[in-house]
Amino acid sequence: MNFIDTHLLSLILFVPALAAVIILFLPNGENKLFHWFTLGASLIPFVLSLVVWFRFDATQSGFQFEEAYVWYEAIGSSFHLGVDGLSLTMVLLTTLLTPLAILASFSISDRVKAYMMLFLFLETGMLGVFMALDLLIFFVFWEVGLVPMFFLINQWGSANRNYASMKFLIYTMGGSLGLLLAIQMLGVLFGHFDLVRLYEGWNSLDPTKTLLGLPVSTVKAIAFWAFTIAFAVKVPVWPFHTWLPDAHTEAPTAGSMILAGVLLKLGAYGFLRLILPLYPNEARIFAGALAVLATAAIVFGAFAAYAQTDFKRLVAYSSVNHMGFVVLGIAAAAFAAGTNDATIALNGAILQMFNHGLSAAGMFFLVGVIYERTHTRDLGKFGGLFPLVPVYGGILIFTSMASLGLPGLNGFISEFLVVRGAWPILPIYTAISMLGLLFTGAYILKGIKQVLHGPLNEHWARGEHKLTEINTREILVMVPLMALILWIGIWPAWILNVINNAVVKLF
């Protein structure tokens, strides 16, 4: 018991990888075994992260549940894990969404073994990023998450998967190239990669001195942009977002759920964990530019979503749109660090990360549900399906409303906080993003209308194409999401407290 207590984070981190290795040795062809074993294995980190959540002391500053092991001493890197309010929220999101995604994948029947292994490796990769307190370890897990996702898209995706997977890989690797170089530079300069010590050391560098032959401020600026581009590609910030629609659309359903639900958050997390604390000055200087890009993402994302005829692509662009709010909140916080408004905006941004994770995962799953039955994502081919599948329709409307930001559901809380916080700081950008918000409503409603309302499309009404209702397993996937969506919408304090305390301590 004591071992578990002192190694909670490592267990959460490595149980999925271990489970994947175990799957390797299970006999081939036993699809049901793989499904249930993986589901069970992914529930263990979830339970453990709940344990951590309840033991987490929100009043304390700094990182808790820290663990540090020797790893690569020769270059000054140690295996250092730890969580604070921000990362714990993300960890919870990840460990929650993964079992749901696996449950959603029960309908996969092609090479299930490999699929499940890749999923579990992916989970370890994502968790590692959130828990890392050593820059090198951060980078290691950042990269580790790429390859399973590449293969998931490439092997189990839809028609255009080759292109989409390659684009995903190259974009992200290209983006993280700058990150790699900047981390190397930091390692060379400081002789270690420990994040906590880097916060102090980096910020206490005398700006008038020179570093590597260049003035400190220049070096910091270059490093800032290197970090920023890497994370901007991941979030994605407009205009680095073009990989997203393809990757999301072509990925298998569960892949899209995780991609939108968690992977995008990795980028935002990078902004919060690394860029704001390490480069407060540069962030402030460039916050305006960031805000412009955020606004562009919100507005253009919404417009683009509105124009889509492919249901999944519509949801993909909605991710661009929603993540734009996260970036807006971050920009506002960067610009006016330490003020009350900034805190509010940042709270909203982080909550939005969590919320979008829930609602995006839900939306992608629902698209997947209808796709499995109709084998098309073309909005024009649907129509008036509500009477055929009332339960599905209800769930779809519920989740879409969350995405839209209906008061009473989670989306409203986070978007409101962001806008409330950003308005005094960046009024113009906030105003323009309202336009985006308007169009969010537009595309959501348009989407629902085309699928559920209007005259019934006879094609799906009878015969071999008769639409079947959403089944129990699929409902089970949605229920936890819907419950959380509602709960946060009505009573967000339980999570906002944790987030708020973390945010306040961040500055």
Binding site: W71, E73, L181, Q184, M185, V188
Partner: protein
């Protein structure tokens, strides 16, 4: 340690070669069995030595010294330090897996392994292995040269007799001439060093530990570093003297390619380090910028050329040029991180490229083509080999969790410490590598199996699987637990830094 383990490891292959030659020509399986026994023995010994190496102690271990020609100062002086120990292990591993890959099963459809005159094949391969091991453990310059040259001529025979019929004669001659030229250029430099040491200290000795204190002047070092370093570095595949390597790789039979890229190129880099950098440190400092420039070009150029290849084996060959460029890049930094990374990269790349060539060979033996557009769906037939290749590919990309990252990261850190622009340029290769590795993995292993292969291709043999598993094992273990190799290399690096003047 009284048991002369290093001489035994070095001479076992030679003895085995003689024994194999004494067997009658028809006894193919006996020849293979003797070869495997010898390789296993050498591998076990090198593993034993590796684990008994004191990772905390500096200096050379398992030292043996026998006077050979005292009048001229030639002795049989053996010893390993933190840099050469992993390379000895690497040789043992590649030798072992190479024998497994070359087993040959006399199967009508599959042209796997070596079926024509395996006796001579293994004999020549083992002479090569002895030469290689001798260089790694030699602490006497004359003997280092002796073993270095022994490693040259078997390559010619191995490629010309058992290689790819289209280019083997051309490639074998080109390779041999290049390597020979490189080595004799270094020989001139070494002989000059020998006499100048005599002038400076009155000592007539080829002993390398002695020569570290020979007191070569700055001018002398500046002039002679270039021929000595680049003479050896030719074998390391440094641009622009790398031209022999891709053709040589492709023309050679599988086990020879594994040896060639996996071990032989490390021989060149290692000798360049041992003789060039360690004995002429001030010269190294003067010329490090040139090495860095050439290495950076090799890294990016090699990756780019690999990207455009249509022949699978050429792709691997050029990727070797790129990765050996990283080794040279690390050398050129002359600092702790860079040298550390190079030391690990020599091992990591050695294992990785051996795996690559092994799998490419398995595919070619069955499909009789190496053209990437013509291949596809190999995963359905050889899943084990596919996973092996994917792991190798991830190492090649420097993916964390594998040995490639453990090696490449410090190299880049080292370069940052010297010339940040070079680090940025060289890092472009990472993306290019990722692109061509992923693209080619997808094309060759996944996708549709071309019709003409249906029903004709068989899975790899048990021996092949063992070889793949052994190679993957090392790549994963070093990647996850760097402490099994890094501290050892570190002690070797510290020695070099001491010679460089404590930088």
């Amino acid at each position: 340690m009284n048991f002369p383990v290093l001489s035994v490891i070095t001479f076992t292959p030679m003895v085995a070669a003689v024994l194999i030659l004494l067997l009658p020509a028809q006894r193919k399986n006996e020849a293979r069995a003797v070869a495997l026994a010898a390789a296993t023995f050498a591998l076990i010994l090198s593993l034993w030595t590796y684990f008994n190496y004191d990772q905390a102690a500096a200096g050379y271990q398992f030292v043996e010294k026998y006077n050979w020609l005292p009048v001229l100062g030639i002795s049989l002086h053996f010893g390993v330090d933190g840099i050469s120990m992993p390379l000895v292990l690497l040789t043992g591993v590649v030798m072992f897996t190479g024998v497994l890959i070359s087993w040959g099963d006399d199967h009508p459809h599959v042209m796997a392994g070596i079926q024509d005159r395996p006796r001579e094949f293994f004999a020549f391969l083992f002479i090569l292995a002895s030469g290689v091991l001798g260089v790694f453990v030699s602490l006497d310059l004359f003997m280092l040269f002796f073993f270095y040259e022994i490693a040259v001529f078997p390559m010619y025979l191995l490629i010309v007799i058992w290689g790819w019929i289209e280019t083997r004669e051309y490639a074998a001659m080109k390779l041999t001439l290049y390597l020979f030229i490189g080595s004799v250029v270094s020989l001139v430099g070494v002989l000059v060093m020998y006499w100048i040491q005599y002038q400076n200290t009155g000592l007539l000795s080829f002993d390398m530990l002695q020569m570290e204190q020979a007191g070569f002047s700055q001018t002398f070092q500046n002039i002679w570093f270039l021929p000595v370093f680049f003479g050896f570095a030719v074998l390391g595949g440094i641009w622009p003297f790398h031209n022999w390597s891709p053709d040589g790789h492709v023309a050679a039979p599988t086990a020879v390619s594994m040896f060639h890229a996996g071990v032989l190129m490390k021989l060149g880099a290692f000798a360049a380090l041992r003789v060039g950098i360690m004995l002429l440190p001030q010269g190294a400092q003067t010329w490090s910028w040139l090495i860095m420039a050439f290495a950076a070009i090799a890294v990016v150029y090699g990756a780019y050329i690999a990207f455009v290849q249509m022949d699978f084996k050429y792709m691997v060959g050029f990727s070797s040029v790129s990765h050996m460029g990283l080794v040279m890049l690390g050398f050129s930094t002359l600092n702790q991180q860079g040298l550390l990374g190079s030391g690990v990269q020599m091992f990591s790349h050695g294992v990785m490229t051996a795996l690559f060539f092994a799998v490419v060979g398995m595919i070619y033996d069955r499909a009789h083509t190496r053209q990437i557009p013509e291949l596809g769906g190999i995963n359905k037939i050889m899943p084990f080999a596919t996973i092996g290749f994917i792991i190798g590919g991830l190492v090649s990309m420097g993916m964390p969790g594998f040995s490639g990252f453990v090696a490449e990261f410090p190299i880049f850190m080292g370069v940052w410490g010297r010339q940040w622009l070079v680090a940025v340029i060289a890092s472009i290769s990472i993306v290019i590598t990722a692109a061509y590795i992923m693209r080619n993995i997808r094309q060759v292993f996944f996708g549709e199996l071309p019709e003409k292969f249906e029903g004709h291709l068989t899975d790899v043999t048990v021996l092949d699987k063992v070889a793949i598993a052994v190679l993957c094992f090392f790549m994963v273990v070093i990647g996850l637990f760097p402490r099994f190799m890094v501290p050892m290399v570190q002690t070797g690096v510290e020695n070099i830094l001491r010679l460089l003047g404590g930088q």
